[in-house]
Amino acid sequence: GSGSGGGDAGGGSGGGTENAKVAFLMPDLASTRYELQDKPLFEAKMKQLCPTCEVIYQNADSDAAKQQQQVNSALAQGVKAIVIDPVDSAAAATFVKSAQSQQVPIIAYDRPIPATPADYYISFDNEKIGQMIAQSLVDHLKKENAEGGILQVNGSPTDAAAGLIKKGIHSAVDPSGFKLLAEYDTPDWQPEKAQTWVSGQITQFKDQIVGVVAANDGTGGGSIAAFKAAGVKVPPVTGNDAEIAAAQRIIAGDQYNTISKPIKIVAEAAANTAWEFMQGKKPAGKATLYDTPSELFVPTVVTKENIKEVLFDSGIMKAADVCSGEYAKGCEELGIK
């Protein structure tokens, strides 16, 4: 099978880059960033590079089979390049095969595709993210001379990215000297589940809990709600993704940290690379990972100390969105306007 699918379809199959299509395929809705940040940023940059090009955006809703359908449908529409954040890094190998068999370049975004080299890889490293949030928490606890143990709230047991984050967290927590009291894989990343679990652990371990490493902001929020609902003091809780709700909790002092990924930079880099591929060039990577030319970016841990610089001064968030109602006072104290 080598026939290009969209051959008989009007729009995007001409030889040139006029009206060319590019697919931007994201993995899930568990984190809000894909729809709210990656997609608009990528589209904006693409528009700037090629005003007539069309971006085909799809979200696979955590389902590798659905993502396969989306890849095939993109190919059938005759895209010139695919940027993909795979749901399942292993399964994505087959997408690389089908894309490359139709001479469509494929760029791995955010998560790598180890088994079959893609044409390019642009990311931050999920394992590193896990390690960074956990380390930041551990450092904080050590500074405070806290004594006791840590709870670990992981992501969905059926999500490969969650597995990477979990590994990263362990790499920081295990040697830290703090006892890992218990850990939990949160089905579907559901905050309610995290809340239920943490509530149970509070009755079990009472005041032994000095910190909670949560794998994203949602589960972090659930953990915090559990402490609040139990009527006990909220220990430092981590997060990941830098959602607005998390920023608010950090400002209010409920959440200890989150992590901000330079999504703007990454998304724009992806657009640039895709555009080069679409023009028939072969961009060289700044590094090589998994046999793939790669470009890696480093995220920043956000705490109360640096939230103003990282999130607001850089323009990632607007004070108006965050500093509403009860958070106005906190913002004022931190000088966020």
Partner: protein, 410 residues
């Protein structure tokens, strides 16, 4: 024979009176598999024992307080599901509707700054409208409710994402009354005890009045000792529960609210014309239609109730989490709510079930989930064990019921 009441004159009836008669009756019904909720309660006791042995925290007062609070939101949704199942239909969209309702609440309350009661009202009305829509589609086009509500599941999930919009997740302020209600408001001890006493007294009084009325009409009735024994038993159980939960935080208002809803639904289902018609439609819709019942109105009413309860459940879930987000209502909310109803004895084929079933069912489900949460297992093992324990709970129930067919009751 002349001393026998009107309803006891058939000589084939084995009449039994007094406490011993009651016992014989229970035995007889046990043989016939007609024990009502007793088997579910037995299943629950088995599970509690097992979980307590595995982790002694499980039956601690603090954990049981958590359990009650965690049951409320999904329990209320299950209450709606019971109604829909009673007419032999299903609603797969309760999860989405509850998520959407939480999102609407958060957007109106936090985003638009409306007063909380207005935001709550809007969410609840949204739920009712959804149910009304289902009713219309069902009645006008005769589309199976499975498909309608599957479409609703998708559509309202989309709407939820849309309403949350660019924020994705919205915090509810921790100091708002709503969040307090769901997290921190507990009934003062004296009031809890008062509730217990009132409940027992009411049970006795209503039973007594009813028995008197029956006796006046020449029908058999329960004797005063029986009635008194029953109320004292209830009082003892309630008082014990209040006391034990009171060892830590006590009885949460949210749980009281849930139980109150169960009682109201129990009344509506068993003591009103509407309730009768719900059971009739579930038992034999054509017979109900021929009896002159407005079958369409009954369907619409249960769909509206179900979606409304889903919306209420969604509000409470958001309040308990102090946030509404994209995954609220997703995951296993649907399955848990339906399973709670089914475990509580509601038939998927309609015509059989009670409001109390939802209460018991959700407590079984939450017990399993809470008990296993305490065990710190690998998630793979946890899933397996959850499945096994769930099955265990229901096997106990079913085994005691199963002699039923051999006794000719369907």
């Amino acid at each position: 024979m002349s001393t026998l009441t009107t309803d006891r004159q058939d000589e084939r009836l084995q009449n039994r009176d007094g406490l011993r008669g009651v016992l014989a009756d229970v035995l007889e019904r046990a043989r016939g598999g007609d024990l009502g909720v007793i088997p579910v309660v037995v299943g629950l006791v088995v599970i509690w024992t097992v979980l307590q042995i595995l982790n002694p925290i499980f039956l601690s007062s603090a954990n049981l307080v958590n359990l009650t609070l965690e049951s409320a939101a999904v329990g209320i949704i299950a209450l709606g599901i019971v109604c829909v199942l009673l007419v032999g239909e299903i609603d797969l969209s309760v999860g989405s509707v509850s998520g959407l309702s939480g999102a609407v609440l958060a957007v109106l309350f936090v985003g638009q700054g409306l007063p909380v009661w207005l935001a709550i009202a809007a969410s609840v009305i949204m739920g009712a409208v959804v149910g009304w829509l289902y009713g219309q589609l069902f009645n006008r086009f005769g589309v199976p409710s499975f498909v309608i509500t599957l479409a609703g599941l998708l559509a309202f999930l989309g709407l939820q994402l849309y309403v949350l919009g660019t924020k994705g997740s919205i915090n509810l302020p921790f100091d708002s009354g709503l969040v307090n209600f769901a997290q921190l408001d507990f009934v003062p001890a004296w009031l809890s005890y008062t509730f217990a006493v009132v409940a027992a007294a009411w049970l006795f009084a209503s039973g007594y009045l009813h028995a008197r009325e029956r006796r006046r009409a020449g029908l058999s009735a329960k004797g005063v000792p029986m009635l008194a024994a029953r109320s004292v038993a209830l009082l003892a159980v309630l008082a014990f529960v209040v006391w034990y939960l009171g060892q830590t935080r006590g009885v949460g208002w949210m749980f009281v609210f849930f139980v109150a809803l169960v009682l109201v639904m129990h009344y509506l289902l068993s003591r009103t014309k509407w309730g009768r018609s719900v059971y009739a439609v579930g038992g034999n819709v054509e017979a109900a239609r021929r009896a002159g019942i407005n079958v369409r109105a009954v369907y619409t009413s249960v769909f509206v109730l179900c979606s409304t309860f889903a919306a209420v459940g969604g509000i409470l879930a958001a309040a308990r989490l102090a946030a509404a987000n994209q995954s609220s209502g997703a995951g296993d909310v649907n399955l848990n709510a339906i399973a709670a109803a089914v475990i509580g004895g509601t038939s998927l084929f309609g015509g059989r079930g009670t409001a109390f079933g939802a209460l018991l069912g959700i407590i079984v489900i939450q017990s399993i989930s809470s008990g296993l949460t305490l065990l710190n297992l690998d998630s793979s093992i946890r899933f397996v064990v959850t499945g096994a324990v769930l099955l265990l709970a229901v096997v106990v129930d079913s085994v005691s019921r199963r002699s039923r067919t051999s006794h000719g009751r369907a």
